[in-house]
């Protein structure tokens, strides 16, 4: 990233190759449909290009990138003037058509897990996505969310507990 700060804008291309998929998945899991997620990916890279001088090489790059990502997401919601419609039955991290792992015998758990993720409140889902799927370190998440590292650990724990409760209540629903 320091190279980009020095004006070699083209290096952004390498960063694109490395990070754009992760960013896409982040947006898609935060209730954006695929089109919006793709648009947001573009927006994030554009902003990183435009505001590249604001990046401090002493800090984590992914934290900076995700701060930009969250802001871009918020701006999009503002622009649209309404809350995102949440489809609680499908957690958007998975693509629309059922994959092979969803065979009758084994797939029920994963489908349930997906639904449970979709039913999580947005802030809990976000922290799970950042820590579990993006594999971000707690320090970086703290920077992105603007809180203490200790708080991150607690929030991750609370998020997974909430997920567990939703998951098990969904499971009970199925049986009854």
């Amino acid at each position: 990233m320091a190279e980009v700060s020095a004006g070699q804008v083209a290096r952004l291309a390498v960063l694109f190759e490395r990070y754009h998929r992760g960013l896409f998945r982040y947006f898609v899991s935060m209730n954006r449909d695929r089109e919006q997620a793709e648009d947001l990916v573009q927006e994030v890279f554009f902003r990183m290009l435009r505001y590249r001088t604001s990046y401090d090489p002493a800090h984590s790059f992914t934290a900076w990138m995700y701060q930009i990502a969250r802001n871009a997401g918020v701006d999009q919601v503002r622009k649209r003037g309404m809350a995102q419609v949440v489809d609680i039955d499908s957690f958007a991290l998975v693509s629309g058509s059922p994959g092979p792992e969803e065979s009758v015998s084994r797939g029920q758990d994963l489908a349930l897990l997906r639904r449970a993720m979709g039913q999580l409140p947005e802030d809990k889902r976000e922290i799970l996505v950042l820590s579990r799927f993006q594999g971000m370190k707690h320090e970086d998440i703290a920077e992105v969310l603007g809180c203490e590292v200790g708080t991150v650990k607690v929030r991750v724990y609370r998020a997974i507990r909430a997920l567990e409760q939703i998951y098990f209540s969904l499971e009970k629903e199925k049986v009854s």
Binding site: S95, S97, G99, P100, E101, R106, D109, L110, R132, G135
Partner: protein, 281 residues
């Protein structure tokens, strides 16, 4: 159920768990321990058959059977090794088999010793794992129910890939390539090649792709509606294959290119001595 035990972050080596030692079938479980990295399975070497299967669990489970000559008597077998003394079975790691895990990649290295016995192997991994397999002198290779990216290379044997959802790059020097994809990830390039054998690939009917097809001695059949690109003028004819099913046959020299459903990432089908069959699912 996974419980976290305090293992150091170094390279975990082989944890041998002996099962039925009498029929020389062994099973080893290797966990993926770094969830911040994508899962990967690398398999190298081997002289037996290899099956890799996606399953709904967390670890890599490696099961292998040594092809030992049954101990009818106490004579040494052809490899010069001694048969176990009557009533006894061997304990401990087999020579030439190395299983390690590092940074969420499980590596199975199966360099059977020169003159050693073949090993048939069955490896189960979570479905969302990238699989990279390269075997020499191997038997048949089968990979099923994997949603990660697959790279498979076999030397003397078929490569069969079923229920794949990620990208597939497959090759055999001497053997058929048989691939069935449940889902084609947009934007991923794929390649299927063999020197001696058919390339037989099944894709979902709505796949968007650009085909590049080449066979030196053989025909190309498909039931897709392929919009051919005008390099050398291909001859497209309707023929009935041996099952009486109607197929379009493309006949010409050199590499043929064409698109389906408006075009998309490239898929290459190459064989020297064999047919190319591209099925619609």
């Amino acid at each position: 159920m996974i419980t976290r035990i305090g293992m150091g972050m170094g390279i975990a080596t082989l944890l041998a768990t002996q099962l039925c030692a009498q029929d020389s079938r062994q099973q080893i479980t290797m966990p993926f321990r770094d969830p911040s990295m994508p899962r990967k399975l690398i398999v190298e070497g081997g002289t037996g058959s290899l099956t890799i299967r996606g399953y709904q669990g967390q670890d890599a489970i490696i099961e292998y059977t040594g092809r030992e000559i049954p101990p009818a008597n106490n004579r040494t077998n052809r490899a010069g090794r001694n048969e176990p003394p009557a009533g006894m079975h061997r304990i401990g790691e087999s020579r030439g088999l190395d299983i390690t895990e590092e940074s969420n990649t499980v590596r199975v290295n199966n360099q059977s010793l020169f003159g050693g016995n073949g090993r048939d192997m069955v490896i189960q991994v979570p479905a969302q794992t990238s699989v990279n397999v390269k075997t020499m002198f191997g038997g048949n290779m089968t990979i099923e129910n994997i949603t990660g990216d697959i790279e498979a290379e076999n030397f003397n044997g078929q490569v069969t890939i079923n229920n794949a959802s990620g990208s597939v790059v497959a090759h055999s020097m001497n053997g058929k390539i048989l691939v069935s994809l449940d889902r084609v990830t947009p934007d991923k390039s794929m390649s299927f090649s063999t020197f001696n054998g058919d390339v037989d690939v099944t894709l979902p009917a709505d796949t968007k792709a650009r085909f590049k097809m080449r066979t030196d001695f053989g025909e190309i059949y498909t039931d897709f509606d392929v919009k051919m690109e005008a390099n050398a003028a291909p001859v497209v004819e309707e023929v009935k294959d041996k099952n009486g099913k109607s197929r379009r046959r493309v006949r010409v020299d050199g590499t043929q290119s064409g698109t389906i459903n408006g075009g998309g990432p490239e898929m290459q089908f190459t064989t020297f001595n064999g047919r190319i069959l591209i099925h619609k699912k």
